[in-house]
Amino acid sequence: MRYLDGEMNAAEASAFERHCEECTACGEQLKQFADLNAMTRRIAMKDPTDEFWERYWKSIYRRIERRAAWVLIIAGAAMLVAFALHEAIQSLRVVTFEKIAVLLVAIGGVLLLVSLARERINQRRVDPYRDVKR
């Protein structure tokens, strides 16, 4: 392999060539692998267009930006709900429209989280690739 891949120095390469001239088995094997290498080298991967690469980078940037935006929105919403719940507990006797709205959002959020968690757990139980490193 080292000879075919140009990983031998000149002295090693010429010694190997001499050996292959004398040893039929090694010479034959060298020829077979050289043929295979030549066949592999004939394949070239197509290089996508400049537009493709421009879109490629922009798509990465957009996805990172949107992910950051979602994290901020979710964190902010969670803080608002937590604050509202805290305020609601402080004044339990007074039921206002805002409190009902926040309570509905909180209950909906909790339901959604429980549902997602249950789905993840069930998926994990039956996933044959759960041990594959992410």
């Binding site: 392999m1 080292r2 077979q32 066949m39 004939r42 394949i43 991967m45 197509k46 990172i64």
Partner: protein, 197 residues
Amino acid sequence: METPCTGDGITRETLLAWKKGGARALERIVRATMKRSYAIALGLLGNEQDAKDVSQEAYIAAHAARRSFDVERPFYPWFYRILRNRCLNLLERRSRHPEVSLDAICERSTAEDSPERSHARWETAAMVWKAIFSLSPEHREIIVLRSFQELSYREIARVLEISEGTVMSRLFYARRALREVLAGAGGVPGEQGNGES
């Protein structure tokens, strides 16, 4: 700055700026390495759409994990592991059978080739490309890094975190497996080998 083994020319300053969240630095890193990353993903996954999606996801994951990156070390081997794991994950989900597209490749024919000869060469190239995707991901990976990315043994060893001796033996077994597949398909003359060249 130590130049990464893959020769991407990403400076230490760029990596430091990226670690702090700099968008410009991220752009420089992505632009310097995206062609290589896409080609490696294409070599492992076999089609353009998966290669694009998975390599982009790898950059997003790398950006999210940038604080764990050591700027004293080259970027690409670190990133390569993220890319590789994502490619292998996708292959696992598809039971290791990639959807191979011939649109992703072309054949290096010469101007003097007749249409018939050119067609025959294309058919051989297509057969070899398909045969590569019948190999195990480990064998496919080393063939992609050596034959398509043209990395030296030292560079492959560094990227895969294995010894140069292991690179050599893995290449040997990968090529032997490829030759057996091609021989089975009538593509390569000769018998099966048992030793290393």
